[in-house]
Structures are given as C-alpha cells and as structure tokens.
Amino acid sequence: MTRPAHPLAVFAALVAAVAVALAPEALGPFHIRVLQFFFFSAALATAWNLLGGYAGYWSFGHMAFIGIGAFAAAHYAMAFGGGGAGPASMIAPVAVGALSAGGVALVIAYPLLRLRGIYFAIAMLGVSQIAAELTNNVGALKGGIGVFLPSPTPAGMPPERFFYYLFAVLLGLCLLIAWAIRRTRFGYALLAIREDEDTAMMLGVATERWKIAAFVLSATLTGTAGAIYGYSLGYFTTYSVFRLDFSLNMIVFCLIGGIGTLWGPTIGAALLLFLTQVLLSRFLDVHLMITGALVVATVLLMPGGILRAVGELPRLRPKREGGT
C-alpha cells in the first residue's frame, strides 16, 4: 500500500530545506519575523488538518491546545526552572506543554469524539472557551496577570532568527508526520472515517482508536507550537495565546489551500499571510473583513480549496450529514 516517495518530490523538499536554512542571511529581521509567523501558522494548520482534513472532524476550538501548551510550559519553567541556559532550557518546558495538551486531549477525546459534525465543532469551541475562562479567572493559573518565560535564544543570535529556525523545524516535523500518516494504515483509517464512519465501523476499522489517536496527535503538535509561541512572546496573558482568531485561521488556511491535502494548509497559510501581513499590513482595521470575505468566497467558489480546485486531486464531494 505504501508508495515510494517520488524522487522529484524528495529533491524539491531538499531544495526547500536548504533555501529555508539560508534565507535569514539574505533577509532583514522584519521579513524573518513574517516568515517565522508563517511557519508557526502553517504548522498549526497542518496539525489541525490531521483531525479536520484527514478524519473529517472539524474542531473549532484548537486554540485551547495552543494556550494549554503555552501555559503549561510557562508554569513548569517558573516552578522548576528550565535547566541550563539558552535553547536547552526550552526542552523540558516545551515537552511539558506538548504533553499537557496531548493529555487534555486524551481525557476529553472519548466523550467528545462521539459527537459528529456541527456538534463536535461547537463542543470543541466550548472546550476552548472553558480553558480560556478558567485560565483567566482561576488565580493559580495566572492567566489574568500574565506569565513569564525567559528568553532561550543562544547568545549571539538574534531572537527572531532563532525562532525562525525553531518554527521551520516544527513545520517540517508536522509535514513529515502528515506525509507519513497518509501512507500508513492510520491514514487510510482516517480517510475511511471521513468518508463514511458508520460503514467503516461495520467493516471492522477500529474507528474509535484511530480517531482518538488523530485527536491526541493533533493536540500534541498544536501544544508544542503553542509552547514555542509562548517563548517567542516572553510574557503573555490569557488572550495572548487563547486566541479565537488562531482557531479560525487554522480552519481558514486549510479551507483555502485544500482541506485534507498535505500541502494545502501550508499554501493557504502562505497566501493569506502574504495578503494580510505584507500587502495589507497598513490596513489593519479591515483585516477581519478581508479574511471573512475570503473565507466566504472560498467556500462559495472553491469548496475544496485551491489544491482541489486546480484539479490535481480527485474532487472532494461535500459530505452529507448521515448519508442520503
């Protein structure tokens, strides 16, 4: 069932990796920051895609995992220190952040994944709001007053470069995982779940197990991204990391780029971020409107996203609730 990777694809990936590694030499800090944010967003979208695109469970509340990852990392670092200085000090807190996000996902996976479609989407939205509210209003979590993460940048390197590389590596990791999943039974199980879960269950696919796995994996990757994002901010409060617009951007990037594809989330992120961060950076007060309009336009004109509209992949038939 697994196909060997196309040599051209591997070559292209290598070229891209080299380009990413060398780019900071040629670019100013502003552009490095924009790219840093792009890698972060694309990684988030790719992680979301594992659950939303591959399995067909659209979560409207992934910001919960970003926030949980960031706050868990911060609390761990504030309580136990990072151990060492510079990048080494990040390892334990980020790991704690990732595992906390994954852990929470594991706990809520069983009840929540019994819901389908809209109910699941809104339930996740509810979960993310609960997480944000609790973080903000329970004193011990310090969401209201803010938490602090010491800078892990190695001496001599500008911080934006350090995070540029870090997020680039994270994106690479997410893409690798996403690519690998598609070629395994895991990926096929998710595809089956997306297309017709009940039939898959009847045919003996262990849907429960695979769904939970996808959910936890998606959450863990998101939590990792969140923890690193917290480090890049240095000091953050609840609403710096529990951001509804992050939840939505993840979905929008996948929608625009091609939901359920490997590169779709990255392409969607690139396009939209280019639009908002570079072209429209001076028109911030219409950002929301432009993003909203783009979302609507995409759904109306290209329901599957760019990659599917371009025709490289089979047309995705819109999923009908319950099958007709």
């Binding site: 100013g28 502003f30 920051r33 509210e133 969401g143 007053i145 072209l279 001076r282 950002h287």
Partner: protein
Amino acid sequence: MDRRTLLKTGAAAGALLAAPRLARAEAKTITFGGSVPMTGKAAETGLNVLRGYETAVKFVNEEMGGVEIGGETYALELQLFDDASDPTRAATLIQRQVDEGIGFFLGSFGSAIVLPTCSITEAAGRIMVQAGGGSDLIFTQGRRRVFGVFPRASRQFVSSVNMFEALEPPVKTVSIIHTNDPFSQFQADGARQSCAAAGIEVLDFIALPAEVSDVSNVLSTIRANTPDVLICTTHDQTSILIARQMISSRTNVPMLYQTLGPQTEAYRKTLGGYADGVVTQTYWDEEAPFSGDWFGSAGDFAAYYRAHFDRELAYHMASGAVCIVSYLQAARNAGSLELDAVRDALAALDFRCFYGPVRFTEDGDGDAALMGPKLMQHQDGELKIVSPPESAAAEPIHPAPPWRERA
C-alpha cells in the same frame, strides 16, 4: 465584479502599496516610531494615547515652528501603526522600524504589548518612553533604555492610601472589585498590598469576568459586608454599570472609588446628580496648577487639544504628549540627538511642565511621589482634585450621602 475589474483594482492597490516612500523633505526631522492599539481590545485608551502623541507633534511643528536642539531646528514626525492590541503584530512591526533605523520609540498601551516590544527596542539599543504600561515587569528586569511616565503598578496606590489615612473619620476597611485583565488586576493587587501595609483591612477581593453584564450578586455581598471604601479598578463601562446597579439596588457605601470611569463625560451624563461624591484618580487634570515650557499650563494644553481634536479629553492625552515632551527636553538638555546622550539626559530629567513634575526613578518608571495619581471627587457637577493637599482644589466629602439624597 468580474475578474478583469478585480485584477485591475488589485494591481492598482498593489502598486499603491508598493510605491516607494516619498523622499524626505529637506528640513531635518526627528522621527518617533512605535505602535498603538487603534483596533481591538485596547483601542479605547490606545486612541487616547495616540491623540496625545499627535497633539504634541502638532504643537511643536505648528505653534513652535519646530524644536531647536544643539543649534539645529527639527520638525517632528510620527511613524506609528496599529498593532490591533496584538503583541505579536506589535513585535513584528516594531522590529521593522528598528531595522529602518528609528531611534526614539513611543509605547503602546497595555503591559502585554509594551513588554515584548520594549525588549526589542532595548536589545537594539534604542530608547522607549511610554505612557501605557505600568506592570512592574517592565521596569524590574534591568532595562536601561525604557522609561514610563506612570509609576509601576505596585506603587500606584500609595497616594490613595495616604488620602484614606487623612480622612475624617479615617478609613478602616475596604473592598476591591476588579476584572481579570492585566491592568485591572495589577492595580487591584497594588491596592490590596498598599492597604494591607497601612493596616487597612480588605474585606472582599472580588474578581469579575472580562465582560461584565450583571453585578447584582456582587452587590448583595457588598450590602451584607459593607466596607468604608469600595474600590473598583474596572474599566469605564463596567464602572458605570456598577454605579447604576448600586443606585437601583440601594447599595450605599461611605465612599465609592472607581479608578476608571468617573473621569469621562459619559459617566456624568449617565448618572447625572448621582455622580456627586464618587471618587476617582487621574494622572493629570486640566485644572491642576501645573505649568512650564512647551505648552504653558495644564489649561493651555486642554484648550489647544480641544481646538484641534474631537476625541473627548482624558488624562491619557496628556500622558502621551508628555512622552514626546520628555524626549525633547532631554535632547535639549543633552544638546544632541545621540541615543546615549539622550538616554542619560532622560535618566537625569527633573523639570516641570503642563503635566506637573517629571522625574524618573533609576528603573525608569515615574517617581511614585511626584508622578503618582491624584484623587478627584465629583462635587456639585464638577470634578475637583481633593488629594494630595498640595494639588487639592477642594476638601473631600466623606462620608458621601446615600444615593437617594443625591438625585
């Protein structure tokens, strides 16, 4: 619209945006960089601070014909952008300005945004003078080029406690209501610590969610356990809501002290006569007896502001303007615009102007005794400063009459 039109409009828009900046005019300019929240959660106050910056620049350029430093005359230029109350966006675009070589930065509003951005300017060796972040963290991490015109949050309540102790009868108990956001919470914590240090008992310390709709339950608690002073560190509309519900639920306290809210016109308009007796704080008031170079007196500043801007005058405008004035005064004292020289001059600054005395501590925040808040009280339809005594225009009315008698 069809595709062709779309493409044409898009291309035109793209060209406009990519157009190279016009060559700078021959006159020398001092450029101030930075971000301000013009949209998003912090926009209400962000816009106030922005107007303050604009007022100072306009005054210096138009009324004074530019500023003279080290023998040369300079015009002022603001290069501020909207950070949408988003720290990441602020950081990214501040970074761009640092790349472009801007040396003098103005602060955004809100500690959550000021903290990451001041780290960037500090690391690049630039200076920031801000009127938007009071969090202790800004000033206690060893930065040498970040200055704030407010004292740090934990010291902001000292002047209020001084007034409490001087009242007749003296204040013995307080209750504090705050919302869970960095500004309100820091202020409330500072209030709690200062009160405790002065031996005043804090009966209730109540947290409200960020978006408040109904405080009747909270007020039931207050009625059951009434303090001498009810302190609210909530934002404008929440303060109005609390006052309104206090009136209709007949919750009377000897003093209602709301740090944000009573200064606005909306407060007086909404509550009418009920506003009498309410105490608030301000960092600046147009009737304060302050004067000096640059704008003249506090009243002159207010007059100039009102003549040129629409947005209702609040103390943030003055705080914003004084950031720029501080830069210019320091540059004048140093006789140059070199970053190091200006930085040292800022640290040594000690002068009076329309804002009152200006002096920074060695950590960069405003001197708590000189630049801390003054307390005002609504009396007979006007806000009068009642504390500290040197700045006071009237005696505080304490205890305030019950709501029914104020209508």
